[in-house]
């Protein structure tokens, strides 16, 4: 049992930010890594494959303050499998908000999963402004923290970090507004249309 399985728990895994974060981790990691994505049909295969690894790194976005359903379903399957008690589960979670601490509750959820499934809880990287930070001059800050996470997992130590854009909140709001406005523009949707108060109209 050796090596790290990087598991992307994003519901849009093939085109997700989590995939980019996972790739940065694989580049930085001194240990052998394998990258996998969760699909509806591969829970059993993943659970069997995880048996061959000492470490599992969950990479996922914060969804409605918690674990995305895509990952939640898989964790339930893994708990039922169950994983080896020698497996260490680490995590790299990103949210679109400026404060990486908005991920704190989901960190505790993964810790509870580890307790219930009998595996070890490892290292944590919480990323704020995770939707856009890789496209900004602050991307290097995330890369450095991902490097520390990779070292920590490879060495078998348990550490926690947080990283986000070092911006005043008002500046972040202006920057995120511009980011989303440009996102809508690519779809031919104006800022005013995006700001509609109507729901299902």
């Amino acid at each position: 049992m050796a090596g790290i399985m990087i598991l992307n728990g994003s519901p849009r895994a093939p085109r997700s930010n989590s995939k980019k974060y996972a790739a940065l981790f694989a580049q930085a990691c001194p240990a052998e890594t394998v990258y996998r994505e969760i699909t509806r049909g591969n829970h059993g295969t993943l659970c069997r494959e995880i048996e061959g690894f000492s470490d599992l790194l969950l990479v996922f976005p914060l969804y409605a303050d918690g674990i995305p359903v895509t990952l939640l379903r898989f964790l339930k399957a893994l708990e039922a499998a169950p994983p080896s008690p020698r497996l260490t589960v680490s995590m790299m979670v990103n949210c679109g908000f400026l404060e990486p601490g908005q991920n704190d509750t989901v960190v505790e959820m993964i810790r509870l999963f580890c307790e219930k499934s009998g595996c070890r809880f490892g290292s944590v990287l919480e990323i704020g402004s995770g939707e856009a930070i890789l496209e900004t001059p602050f991307a290097g800050m995330v890369r450095r923290k991902i490097g520390k996470l990779a070292d920590s997992i490879a060495r078998g130590t348990r550490r926690s970090w947080k990283v986000t854009m070092p911006l005043p909140k008002r500046w972040f709001i202006r920057a995120s507004t511009a980011y989303w406005e440009s996102y809508g523009k690519r779809n031919g949707v104006t800022k005013e249309q995006m700001a509609t108060m109507e729901i299902e109209k």
Partner: protein, 170 residues
Amino acid sequence: MRLILSDRPLPLPELSSDTTFVDLSGLKIANCVGCFGCWTKTPGRCVIRDDAVKIYPLIAASDRVLYVSRIRYGGYDEPMKTMLERAIPVQQAFIRLVNGETHHLQRRVVPKQAVVMGYGEEISSAEEAVFRRLVARNALNMNFSEFRVEVMPEAAVEDAVRREAAAWLG
């Protein structure tokens, strides 16, 4: 308008005419695919046209909500979590400050008094604490003006919901 959203069928007494009961276990709701379509392509409308599109307008319009869900790892189990993830069309992509923290702007979402009942067997004090923290986080993102959390064994759910529904009538 009032809404009882449950992950299981519940034998309820007669409800007031402005109260809707939704049993998520009887609905067809796919998980959010994170496409941001409801923010950037068809604002306020999810591109997945299943039963969820009937529910999130009810959530938005209700000034009193009761959510009933099994607890899993300190959070909501699949049915409730799936629905809450699919409710993001009620928010905008744009960010504002709430209590000094960044959160999404809401569309026409009525501020709500929320009661959240989490149930399950062998819920540890640590798991209950995480669930309570989760609902406090939800309050900021889901426009809860007030909220109360109750954690109970599964066998106690029906009585607890009946009590709450009766209090709404009173």
